[in-house]
Structures are given as structure tokens and as C-alpha cells.
Symmetry: C3
Subunit: 509 residues, 3 copies
């Protein structure tokens, strides 16, 4: 008994989850750094600067042609996906809803600031004055960039400390910005909805970290690794907001006009198709044909991921339905067969199943993008439409669809390499015993990092009745009286008879 | 005892709720059919096609004049209403939240695809090449079309299988498209927000089906036919998103400019007024003046339904308040008096009370539309405004407001006939014993079609303590042991002393 | 004992929470008054009137330049904040979620109507015909106006009756409209996001009322003054929708073009920064560094409040981060130190902590606005930009930034005076014993004004088993029978043996 206790104390010493110094320090220091860097680098772009009124007269534009009106509704939808969508999707665990939605909130709020800087240096630097000029499109891109890290969080949900998540986000955003610059600017791959840049990268980044942080004794907290009825309903809030606003996600930074219009339609159709095949596979592989909430919550979204790269292309309505069809099947089968396999054999513990929701559909999206790009023709797009859609301008004006297809494939490879490579490095950093991560039997438990309210409910009043009855039998048994009085404390105004008991129990204690 | 058991077994054989083959088959086959039909018929319209860039230069338009920017924010609001609004409104039952939000998701995702085809054949067929050309307005209309079926689902909530819902949706969408074509195109009634086309049709369609599927022994599951505290809060998510976005619903496909603007204002006012009278009636008819969540969740929305047809008309701000006032009163009284009457006398079991929320307000909306149209004048609308609002163009260019009023009334009758007639026919089909619908005592229970997580909570462990205490008194009483062992099952890992008890109880049983 | 009981009865007589007559009367009479006043005063403005089609041709505008398309997406976001944001933020109490979201719904629906009238008389009166002309901007302003009253409700949550809330709203909207007219039109302060006009006013209005309605014995309901696990997750829905859509709130009525664009960016950055410092302070001041949900739910929003006044100004991205940084720190410290102090020493019971979320950040926002305005320069804004941003036109065309700064400060003082003064007067009115407010031990309990579903779950059936067992021992003990029969009532259909018991217990009682 003593040996056991001292062993436990030792473990507790090893796994010190007290983040009272590290978390505030990280938050305050990094936020201060953001202020300084923003002070040095970030300014408004010409459409959000007060000089716009002169600028637009010069360009003979009306106010409605400010990019704000093209993109703000989509931006808000994306914003909802990042904070409510990803946040509530991760509330499905019975005792990790605070951590799911709360840490998602924290790292997204940090990530968007760091992303504005990182992406700004690569894409929005004004070389005349060395400043990054930001507008609404930068905000959307920052949200996109954060999405990669939130996907990675999905694999690690319940097993890491908030400090680890901040570190994961810092490196994740940095890697993302570099990878995105290589894929979009150097390789000139198109990726409007980020199948490759966001989903493939984010998922493999998270899976690699999870592999590095493998916990052989995670079964010690298996009692908490499921859902309860209402936590599953909360998670459906996340699912539905992701599902509904995915057309905005994939169209948010597309070309004005037909680009945004087509991306929204394509994604809408892809997602609709996915729901039906997800339901089909979920029912087919469960005994009695019962549906599994895990599949409905996650696999129904796979079509949106896969529609990302080709969203802007002439994928054709039936093409979208085919992509969605396949993704629903593959993603649901992944949950049924692949996730258990990965945990047992590959030592990858993937809490939310991001391999099925983001990794595989992301790769499919990259391939669909490459094939669609390679098979583009002037017949289908029109001459101007082809140049417009694939941005065959500037130093890429001589590109043709077939080479574009090759570039798309190259982009997918870069995303994979960055995700896996970056994840392994960052995973190694996160294994250092200084980040306050939880012990194996404290995983998936909000008690570790949150003040959790005590549950009681009226049930207790019924308990009191029973307790009272017991009490009337055995008035000389102090143990029962103590038990009853404890229950009694919860409930206050009672009728005379119980008050009598109350007085009595005081005497006994 | 034996007879009873064999009877029950027989019933269970009759009511086989295993949808392991039928549900996947329906989903996969119908989705495949959608792919083929989309391949043959559906293409992008000129505003979402890559040729737009050439097209708009030809028409001298800017990108912002693409219909996408007029309608996309409204579309997303409507999308939220369909999936989160209707979905969460149906989570109010204590043990049917999965079915409420999940099946809503499934049939909406199927319905929008089928609606794109059905409505496309009637309204968007390009006769030059025989293709349906879709853009953002088609997506909105598909969502509208699905709304009719989701309303019908409200009457049947908890009493049908997902396969029945798919069949209901297939026929519902088909009937809707025909009915809509007759009302809007042939009769030339105006119905921007669908009081007649969506709500009246959908509600009577659902009520007729419910009448055909009448379950005399539904009281067997009455224990599950109520709400719990948190399920009522979940339902408020649905209520509020419907309430807030209803102005977008009624304005989504109105004319550009003042049409959309006025429809949004009218609906906003109608809904505000409804809330106050709903609260008034709810409080007035409950003892102690307590408010009933059922009324707040549903009747507050009646004003939005009734504002549908006349949304685009010059209903005048005070007119909207009057309509809302009446709808709040009538809808709440319906919940108090009419729903119990309909269940007892008319054999119509209406789980969500769609008769009060959609049927009556829908008919009111149709009448308000007819009256408002008949009393329209050049003075109020202006000459161009009148033509513009009522679309007195083409072969209807000689119509005057009074005849328009008659046409509106005719439209309402068509919606009623299609709803009731279609519902009876589809109800007859759904009575076939092949769809896997639940037995009377399995209604309103997610266990039938969903893998439901087991609840435990600390409560059960307290039970065991009490049970154990009792047990220690009376070890020779088998009844207690049985009772305790049943409680014991809820909790799994226990210390030695209880395990001892566990063994003991086995002996006793 | 007898004396105690009669005293309690007397108190119950004094505190009659039956609102069966007063609530319906207030709702119906006031709604009728609204209809009459709307009939006399309110008409569509030129952009929502059917004459727009002629009007726009006259002005050579396209449909997309209708103000609807500039503001409708922001309006819907604001609408979500008012109804879902504020509503769900107040669901955090364990047994007051119905009251939180339901009464919020009621008073907001009444408030927007009254606000259209009050604000209309001051700002949108067309002197040619004496009518108020409303368009989308009026709807947004009405939502803003209501926000002030909802903030005040936050301080009083759980302690007032719905009738009191209606009175609070009636006077609150009236005071708001006068105060807003003085600040914006007479003093010519700028306050796009309402740091002063909405938040400072609303918070001090609510705090003053709470001070007037001080309940010395509120500890009697302290058992209900906390959250449970799932109510905290519900509250996060409110938090996140407020947080995400705050950029829309602050930009909704800004100038077209760069004004709206810049306000959205500024608010986005302010809020991001606040999250990190809130987490830092929350963790730092709790033992073991655990985060407190109260802080995460509330203080993360403080940055949005403080960004209100200066949202449209050239606050600069780093300036926004600094404001957010400070607000997160101050607001969280307020929850930790100031709220308990105010309750104990200043006799101000502030349920939601609006002093920390709205009052202090609102004042900070006012000061930031004054400083930013005073330091504005032609260099930063451009000449036209300066005139445009600060509206130096008409009779204010000679103003300069430094005087504008003074006017801003004056505006802040007016907001404070109206809030505190108005709150004391309205608080005195609400102390009259006619409003049906709850007794001290009925506070924070939905049972008082709502039909609350009984909780049972399987637990209750287990109770019955236990009760029955007990009963079989002691058939001559009436107390047990009573206790059992009470439990029995919860559950309806039982087998023969229990029915027998049921009969028996009747005899005993």
C-alpha cells in the first residue's frame, strides 16, 4: 500500500499538470511579441485604409467594389467554422468538452495573429515600405492557416496540455506558411479550398505528432474516451456548422464572380452526396444496422475536404457527386477498420479520427485537383476562363493544363512531406517533460486543466428521502446519519418532518 | 406468461426495425441514380460557368453584379435554417435528439439533390441543349423544396424509420415541384417565402401521412414523449436560428433591390410581434402563469410563416405587426386546444405540432397574400413598382391587382389539395410492412436506429452504496439481491468488497 | 415552528410570482400600442419602398448599390449576437437556462419594435410627412439599442420577473434613444460600435438597478447560483457567436467601403489579443493554474467592447492588439477581485459580471476613442479620409481632431450619467411590490416562471425498486409509503405488483 502510494506520488511528480506559470508566461510573452511585430510590420491595405476614398475615385470604383463586400460574408462563415465548427466538433467526449471548445478557442486566437505575420511576409509584403498590408483576404487566409493546426489538435484531443498546443500552433503556422508559399507561389499549384495545403498538411502534421507522443497505457483513461448522449448532440452543432459553411470555406478566396459562385456550388453538391454514402456504410457495418454518431459527425464532412482543390475548376455537378460518394465510403470505412488498426499496429492514437476526415479526403482532393486540371480544355473553360481559373499569367503564362496537372501533383507531395516531417520534429519537441501534459489516467478529463462544476441535480432530494427512511431504522448508526446529512446539505427548504431529521443528524455527527 | 411472451415475439417479428440492408440499399442506389441524372442533365448556368468572364464583358457588368453576391448571404442563412434550424428544433424529445437532428440531416442532403433535378426540369431547363442550368438561386430553391419535407417530418418525428423518411422525401419533393410549377408558373401566384407552396403544402402533407399511419397504442411510449431540461435548451438553438434567419428565408429569392430589402423588414417585424402574443397566451392558459417551452420554441415562429407570401408586397410595417399578433395567438391556442383534440378525435398524431406552426399560419399567409395583392394600387407601388413586384409581364402583362388576388387564392387551394391528396397516397405506401418502422413502445427512442452511448454518472455508484447497505442487513432476501445486482450492472470497475457482493447476488438469483 | 411557518407564508404572499395576468396584459397591451404607433408613424424608406425601381434609375444606381447589400450580412450577424449570443451566454446557470435564453428572446423582440419608434423619432423622421422611414440601417440600430437592455439584464439574471424585464426594457430603450441622440447628434461624438452608447450606458444602467434591488438574503438560493457541466458548454455557444460576429457588430453601421472594412479588421485583432491575456490571468490566479469557465465565457469578449468607439478610426493593427491585451487583463481581474468586492461592500449583485465585461471595457473604449480621435492627422487619414471618417461636414465642418477628442470624452460622461441616473430611477420603479419578482430562495430557478420538465431517466425506476423493497418491510410506516408514492408518481406504466403497492399507499396516506 505504501509502495503503491509512493509510486503514484512519483508519477504525479513526473506528470506535473500544473500550468500556472508556463501557460500565463507563454500567453503573455507571445502576445507581447505579437504587439511588437505588428507594430513593426503590419498596416492596413489600400482597401481598408482611410485613403481608400481618394483611391477609389482615382480608380473609378464604387464603394460596393471594395473587396470587403465580395468576401466578408464568406469570411464570417469561415470564422464560424474555425471557432464553432472545429470547437464543437471536439466536444463529443463526455468529460472533455471544455478542453475541446476552450483550447480550440485559445490556439485559434493565437494562431490567427501569428498567421497574419507569417503569411504576410510571404504574400502581402509591400516592398516599397517593408510593411505587410492586410485586408479581408488576409483575415480569411489567417483563419485557413489556423485550420491546419486545429485539425492536428483533433488527433491529440485530450492527451496534451494547453502549453503543448500553443507550441504546436507556433510551429504549425510557421510550417504552413512556408509550405503554402512553396505550393501556391513557387510550384504554382491551385488550391482554393486547401485540400492539400490545409487538410493534407494539417492531418499528417497531427498524426505524426500523435505517433511521437504515443501513450502505451492510454487504456487507463478509456472510461472517459467515449461520449454521452448530450455531448454527441453538442458535437452535431460543430458538424452542421462545418457542413453548411464549407461552400463558403472553399469559395472564400476564389476569383470574384464565377470562381466563387462555382466553388460554392461544387462544394454544396460534394457534401450532399457524402451524407448518403456515410449513412449507408455506417448502417451496413454495424450490427442491427444502427447508425453510429461518430460517422455522422465526421465522415459527412469528407466531401468538403475533397472538393477543396478542384472547387474552382469545372468539376461539373455530377463530378462533385462522384467525389462525395467515394469520400463518404472511404472515410466511414476508415473509422471502422483503419483507426483501430492504426492505434494497435502503427502506434498512432487519433482521438477524432482526422486520418479519415482530413488526411485521406485531403489526398483524394489533391488527386482530383490534378486530374481535373490536367484535363481542362479551352472548350469547357473558354479561353479567358482558362487563363482566369488557372491564373496562367505573368511568368506562368505559357503553362498548359497538362503541366498544371503535374504541378498539382507536386504540390500534394510537398504538403505530405511538410506534414510528416514537421510533425516528427515538433513531436520530438513536445516529448520534452516540461510542458505539463497529463498522466495516462488523466487524459480526456477536464479536471486536469479546468475548474469543473460539481454535478448534483434533484436526484439528491430523492436520496434524502431514502436516507431518511434508512435513518429511521437505525438511529444509532452514525455512518448513515453522516451520509444523509451530507446529502441533505444540497437541498435546503424542506417540510417540518425533515427539518426534525436535520436537527437530529446534527446531534449524531 | 408464455402466451404473452410469444405474442410479444410475434410483434417483434412484425416490427423488424433492422434497416441494415434497406437503408444502405436506398442510400447507395438513389445516390447512384442522382449521379447518372446529374451527368445527363445538370450543368452550370452562365453566372457560375467559366465563360462568365467573357459573358459579363459582353453585358458590360462588373463582377459584383453576379447573382452570387445578391443571394449568397441569404442562401447561407437559409442553409442554416434547414440543417440547424429544423434539425435542432426537433431535438426537444428526451431520447430522440439523434434521430431529430440526424435524420433531418440525411433527408435534407438527399432532398436537395432530387430537388435540383425536379425543380430544374420545370424552371431551369435550357431548351437549346436540354440541360438544366444551375446557379445560386437553384440552390436556394432546393433548400426551400426540402423544407416542405422537413415540415412533414415534424408530424412524424419518432414514429418512422429512416427508410420511410427517404420515401417520404422522394415523393414529397416530386409533389412539391409539380405543385410549385402549377402555383407559380401556371396560376401566376406570387409566393416569395412559400407560405402556400412550402408551409401549407408541407404541413398538410405531413398531417395526412400521420393520419394514415395512426398508432392507437402510441401511449406505450408516452414515457419518452416529453423533453428534459437540456433537450429543451438544444431545441431553443433551432428556434432561434429559424427566428433570426427567417428574414433571409422570405427575401432570398425576391427581386433584387427593394424586393429583398422590403421582404426582410416585413418578416423581421412580423416575427417580433409574434413573440409577445405567444408569451401572453402561453402564460394566460397555464396555471400559475408559467410559460411553456413548447410554445416558445414553436409559436414564436408562426409570424415568419405567415409573412411568406406577402413578404415582397407593400404590407406596411403596422400590417406586419398585425399579422404577427394574430399568428402568435392562433398558433399558441392551437398547441393548447387543437393538438390534443386532433390526436383524440381526428386520429392525427402530430409530434411537433406542425399544424399550429406551419399549417394554420401558412393558410393565414396565403389569405394575407391574396388580400394584399387584391388591394395593391399604383398609388402605393408606383407604376413600375407594381409591374415589378407582381411581375405583370409577358403573357400576364394585362393582369390587375384584383385578378392577382384571385390567383393567389387559387394557389392556396392547389397547395392544400396537393398536401392532403399527396399525403394520403404516400401514407398508404408507407403503411406497407417493409420499411422497418418501430413498434409502438419503441417510438421516440434513439436506441432503435442509433448506437447510443451508455449513461452512467456518479449517481449509479451511490445507488450501489445504498443497495449494498440494504444487502448487508438482509442477506437472505432474494428480491433485494436481484434489485442490487441490476443496479450493479451499470457500474463496472469496483473494489473487492462489492465484487464479493456481486458473487453473492448471483447465487441468490 | 408555527411562527416560522406563518412568517414564511406571509413572505410568500408578499412575493407572489404568479404573472398570469400581469405578463399577458403587458405583452398584449404594449404590442397593441406598437401596432397603433407603427400605423401612425412608420413607413418604408426609399430603398425598401416599391418606388425604388424608379428612384434608382433617377439616381443612376444599380440594384447592388441598395444599402441592403452593404449591410444585410452584418445585420444578420448582429441579429445572431442579440438572440443567440446574449441568450446563450446567459444559459450558464444550472437551472436558469430557460429564463436566460427565453426572457432574452422576449425583451429583445419587444425592444426592437420600441427602438424603431424611439430612434426613428430622433434620427429618421421625414419632416415632409411626419413619418419615420425605415430601412436596413434602422433594423441594425434597433438591435443595437436592445443590446443595452440585454446587458442590463445580465446583472439581474435570475432575480427579476419577466414583467420587470419588460419595464426595464421600455425605459431602457427610451433612455438609450435620448442618450444616443445627445451623444451622436448634439455632441457629435463618433461611436460606431457603441462602447459608450451601448456598453457603458447598458452596464451602468443594469448595475444601478441591481443596486436598487439589492437582496441581502440572496445566499438562500446560492445552491442554484452556479453552473453544471453542460450549461457551461451551452454558454460557450453564446460566447463564440458573440466573439465571432463582433467584427460585424462594430462595422455594421460604419461608412461604406473602407469604414466597414477597417472596423472589421480592428475588432478582429482586438478580440484575438484578449483571448490570450484572459487565459493567462485566469490560469495565474487559480490554484493549480486551472482555467475558469466564467472568465473564458466573458472576459474574452472585452476586447470587442473596447474596440467599439475607435473601430472606424485608424487605430492601427498593433493598437488593437494593445487594447485587447489590456482588456483581457482588466476584465479577468475584475471577475476575480472586483465582483466579490462589489457584492459585499457596494451591495451590487452582478450575476453575469457585466461590470467586467461591459462597464470597464466600455469606458476603456470611450477613452481609447477620445485619444485616437484627438491624435488623428491628415497624414494618416488623408484629407478626404479625415472628413469622411469623423464626418466633419455640415455644421461640424470646422471641427478638428483635437476638439473631436474632447467631444468624445464628453460623450462618455453623458453615457455614464444616463446609465447611473436612469438605472436609479428605473430601479426605484422596479422595487414596487407589484411586478411578481421571486423570493430570495426562488432566485435562479426556472420553476418560478416556467413549466420545467421533470427529470427522471432510468434512475427513477431504480428508485422505485428500492422504495418498493423498503415498503415490503414496513407496511405500517406511513412516512415510507408517502415517500415511495411520491417517487412512484414520476413513473407511469408499471407491472401488477407495483400497482398493488400504489393502491396500498393511497390507503396509508
Amino acid at each position: 500500500m505504501g509502495a503503491c502510494q509512493s509510486f503514484r506520488e512519483m508519477c504525479d511528480r513526473e506528470k506535473d499538470t500544473n500550468v500556472r506559470l508556463s501557460l500565463p508566461a507563454v500567453c503573455v510573452v507571445w502576445q507581447t511579441a505579437m504587439i511588437i511585430l505588428f507594430g513593426v510590420f503590419i498596416r492596413y491595405d489600400h482597401e481598408s485604409d482611410a485613403h481608400w476614398v481618394e483611391h477609389r475615385k482615382h480608380l473609378n470604383l464604387t464603394d460596393i467594389e471594395n473587396d470587403f463586400y465580395f468576401r466578408y460574408p464568406s469570411f464570417q462563415d469561415v470564422h464560424v467554422m474555425i471557432f464553432v465548427g472545429f470547437g464543437f466538433l471536439m466536444t463529443f467526449l463526455k468529460r472533455y468538452s471544455f478542453g475541446g471548445v476552450g483550447f480550440n478557442f485559445l490556439i485559434a486566437a493565437f494562431g490567427i495573429q501569428w498567421a497574419l505575420l507569417m503569411q504576410g511576409w510571404f504574400h502581402s509584403l509591400d516592398y516599397t515600405d517593408g510593411k505587410i498590408k492586410i485586408g479581408i483576404e488576409n483575415l480569411i487566409n489567417a483563419d485557413f492557416c489556423v485550420a491546419g493546426c486545429l485539425i492536428a489538435y483533433g488527433a491529440l484531443l485530450g492527451k496534451v496540455s494547453p502549453v503543448q498546443l500553443m507550441v504546436l500552433t507556433l510551429f504549425g503556422i510557421t510550417l504552413f506558411a512556408v509550405e503554402e508559399f512553396i505550393i501556391l507561389s513557387l510550384i504554382h499549384a491551385r488550391d482554393a479550398g486547401g485540400s492539400m495545403v490545409i487538410h493534407t498538411f494539417g492531418a499528417y502534421y497531427g498524426l505524426s505528432i500523435s505517433w511521437m507522443l504515443y501513450r502505451p497505457n492510454l487504456h487507463q483513461s478509456s472510461r472517459l474516451q467515449g461520449s454521452v448522449y448530450h455531448s454527441d448532440v453538442f458535437a452535431m452543432i460543430g458538424t452542421l456548422f462545418l457542413w453548411m459553411f464549407w461552400p463558403s470555406f472553399n469559395s472564400a478566396i476564389c476569383d470574384h464572380g464565377d470562381g466563387q459562385h462555382r466553388a460554392a456550388i461544387n462544394t454544396y453538391l460534394c457534401l450532399a452526396s457524402t451524407v448518403l454514402t456515410t449513412v449507408a456504410i455506417s448502417s451496413l457495418f454495424q450490427k442491427h444496422g444502427k447508425l453510429d454518431m461518430v460517422h455522422i459527425q465526421n465522415s459527412t464532412l469528407a466531401g468538403g475536404v475533397a472538393a477543396g482543390t478542384a472547387a474552382e475548376f469545372m468539376l461539373m455537378p455530377y463530378g462533385c457527386l462522384i467525389v462525395g460518394f467515394c469520400c463518404g465510403v472511404i472515410s466511414t470505412l476508415g473509422y471502422i477498420f483503419l483507426t483501430p488498426f492504426m492505434e494497435k499496429r502503427l502506434k498512432i492514437q487519433d482521438t477524432c479520427g482526422i486520418h479519415n476526415l482530413h488526411a485521406m479526403p485531403g489526398v483524394i482532393g489533391g488527386i482530383v485537383g490534378a486530374v481535373t486540371a490536367a484535363s481542362a480544355s479551352v472548350e469547357v473553360y473558354g479561353h479567358e476562363g482558362l487563363v482566369n481559373t488557372f491564373d496562367f499569367e505573368g511568368k506562368f503564362k505559357d503553362m498548359v493544363p497538362t503541366t498544371q496537372g503535374g504541378h498539382q501533383a507536386a504540390g500534394l507531395c510537398v504538403a505530405l512531406c511538410f506534414g510528416i516531417g514537421g510533425g516528427i520534429i515538433v513531436g520530438a519537441i513536445l516529448r520534452l517533460p516540461i510542458w505539463g501534459d497529463p498522466a495516462d489516467d488523466d487524459c480526456f478529463d477536464d479536471e486536469t486543466y479546468w475548474e469543473v462544476p460539481e454535478e448534483e441535480e434533484e436526484v439528491s432530494s430523492s436520496f434524502i428521502c431514502l436516507g431518511f427512511v434508512l435513518f429511521s431504522y437505525q438511529t444509532n448508526d452514525a455512518v448513515i446519519a453522516f451520509c444523509c446529512s451530507r446529502l441533505y446539505c444540497i437541498q435546503s427548504p424542506l417540510d417540518g418532518s425533515t427539518a426534525q431529521f436535520w436537527d437530529y443528524s446534527h446531534i449524531l455527527m
